[in-house]
Symmetry: C2
Subunit: 163 residues, 2 copies
């Protein structure tokens, strides 16, 4: 807070472009780009989230359950890199809103299987396309080929290489 030595007048100010240019030149920095890209996506989605009844994370969970009825939440948490306590909260909230139901199977009463309710399915139907459109906007600067490449590379990096 204390003022310091006022030296060197007449410096040209550093512009955004110069910073980007210089940071880009730090050897390998895909990690930095991923972070920036993620922040951009997050901003966009956050905007959407404020206007909708559901977040993108919740929608992903609903989709996963819809595609895999009977899914256990622990398994889903591991796949999506979400900690169990966080998943508990998310699932509880979704259940409160009647979007999913929990079923305790008789053969193993310590696990809980998840299913979509009709409302849950309707939610996926409704917001799926909206979030898809948002994603298309985010990646609109890539052509189809490039998008495909990016997807493939990111799948490798994320460890989701099941082909």
């Amino acid at each position: 807070m204390t003022q310091q030595n006022r030296i060197e007048d007449g410096n040209e100010p550093v512009t955004k472009e110069q910073i980007i240019e210089s940071l880009s030149n730090i050897e390998k920095s895909a990690g930095l780009y991923i972070r920036i890209a993620e922040l951009k996506i997050f901003k966009k989605l956050h905007q959407l989230t404020k206007e909708s009844e559901i977040t993108e994370a919740e929608l992903t969970i609903l989709r996963a359950i819809g595609l895999n009825p009977g899914l256990r939440q622990g398994v889903l948490a591991d796949v999506l890199h979400i900690k169990w306590p966080s998943m508990t909260k998310l699932i509880s909230s979704l259940e409160l809103r009647r979007l999913i139901k929990r079923v305790v199977p008789t053969h193993n009463r310590r696990s809980i299987e998840l299913f979509l309710t009709d409302d849950g399915e309707a939610m996926v139907e409704k917001y799926g396309p909206i979030y898809k459109k948002a994603e298309q906007d985010i990646f609109s600067m890539l052509n189809d080929d490039e998008y495909q490449q990016l997807e493939t590379l990111l799948r490798k990096v994320s460890g989701w290489v099941n082909d």
Copy 2:
């Protein structure tokens, strides 16, 4: 985390691989992959951060200042998609630790220019390679060509296309 293979009465349990497979089939989902990749990176870096005197975000800021002496923090905040109040905290912390100095130029006393101290430069020298090594690990499943492609594509997505 590893056992899933007990196939019990009627419905077989859903495995991680099945979830990944099914989620992968949701048409366009690079956003999801970016998030997962980011989480992986974050985990790795967090590990490093706990053991070092500086976080990756701080190191990026130091690097940016080192490469652009006289940088203003508002400009840097915008480039890195960090809000001003957050940047204020980060910068204050770095100043307290004597890694940077703030200089108020005489020609515009409401702006503040940033410079690295010798300690700051030493910090970049010390931890730069460590974080670089971590990044190489994270992307080790890509060959050089693939890494290059990924970097180029992500730069486009992040809006850092200055070429």
